[in-house]
């Protein structure tokens, strides 16, 4: 039995209610799910809730899974949809002032970050601040396209948006990001 067949077997068992099989599925996919989810949820409790929600939706959706696409694609689709819903719930709330400089990061400085600062994750923190000022749709499309490096086709499939909507939204989101940075700092 090859790995695809054994995965299909696991999926079939989990779909019929086998928790042990579902445990193996979680172990197998939690790395990828957490990778994407952690671009959306930065607090530990939010990330935990989001990851749990993704797997609960996968569990509930398993009986409807029809194996027309690889299981991994289906898992990522559920993950992206759940992350998008999470982003929509968060709206445009500003991050806590204790953790974030409310005036925003200095773009002059951002353009000259050193390797050492990069390793400390300063770039990620800075971008996170700006992304959080955007509407959920803009934030989601930028995260998927620019950070997760998903193709327009993939994003279109995951979010069930047309290809042109993905492209237009990404272009607008990037312009909004620049406008926000300019307004705050320049």
């Amino acid at each position: 039995m090859n790995s695809e067949e054994s995965l299909n077997q696991l999926v079939a068992e989990a779909a019929s209610g086998d928790e042990a099989a579902f445990r193996v599925i979680i172990e197998k996919f939690k790395g990828r799910v957490l990778g994407t989810a952690s671009r959306f949820a930065w607090q530990k409790h939010d990330l935990d809730d989001l990851a749990q929600e993704v797997f609960i939706r996968i569990w509930k959706g398993l009986p409807q899974y029809r194996a027309e696409a690889p299981f991994e694609h289906w898992v990522m689709r559920v993950t992206v949809r759940t992350c998008y819903d999470f982003a929509r719930k968060q709206k445009r709330k500003r991050l806590h002032e204790e953790e974030w400089d409310p005036t925003g990061p200095d773009m002059e400085r951002v353009c000259h970050l050193t390797q050492e600062e990069l390793e400390r994750g300063e770039a990620g923190e800075t971008l996170r601040f700006w992304l959080h000022q955007l509407a959920p749709e803009d934030r989601t499309v930028l995260i998927l396209l620019e950070l997760e490096q998903q193709s327009v086709d993939e994003i279109s499939r995951h979010l069930q948006w047309s290809r042109s909507k993905v492209k237009t939204r990404a272009h607008r989101a990037r312009n909004k990001l620049k406008a926000l940075m300019r307004k705050e700092r320049v």
Binding site: R23, L34, G35, L47, I56, M107, E122, A123, R182, V186
Partner: protein, 108 residues
């Protein structure tokens, strides 16, 4: 900062953020995630079971509390601070109060 510089700044920021560590919490959340998900799966599958578990939990605590209070009362009997009758009547009183409450709720 002009538009071109800002464009380059955004590109650089995105490129650095892409390569930086995704989240410091990823590993901590991954730990035991299977157990937490499966617990939720079970809870959502049988909500009445979880209510039952909650009831058992409080009933257990109430029982332990009552036994503890009775043991404490017996301890006070030693130096003569309270008599057995005091304890017995307080038990009867609480039964009376419960009875009155049940009456008022139309349960008896």
């Amino acid at each position: 900062m002009n538009d071109d510089e800002l464009d380059k700044g955004v590109d650089r920021l995105i490129s650095l953020a892409r390569d930086s560590q995704r989240s410091v919490h990823g590993d901590a959340v991954a730990e035991g995630l299977e157990d937490r998900v499966l617990r939720r799966v079970r809870l959502e599958a049988s909500p009445e079971e979880s209510v039952g578990e909650l009831f058992e939990f409080f009933l257990g605590r109430a029982l332990i509390g009552s036994v503890g209070a009775f043991a404490l009362a017996l301890l006070f009997m030693g130096p003569g601070l309270v008599s057995f009758n005091d304890i017995w009547f307080s038990v009867l009183d609480s039964e009376l109060i419960i009875g009155l409450l049940m009456d008022s709720w139309g349960m008896s």
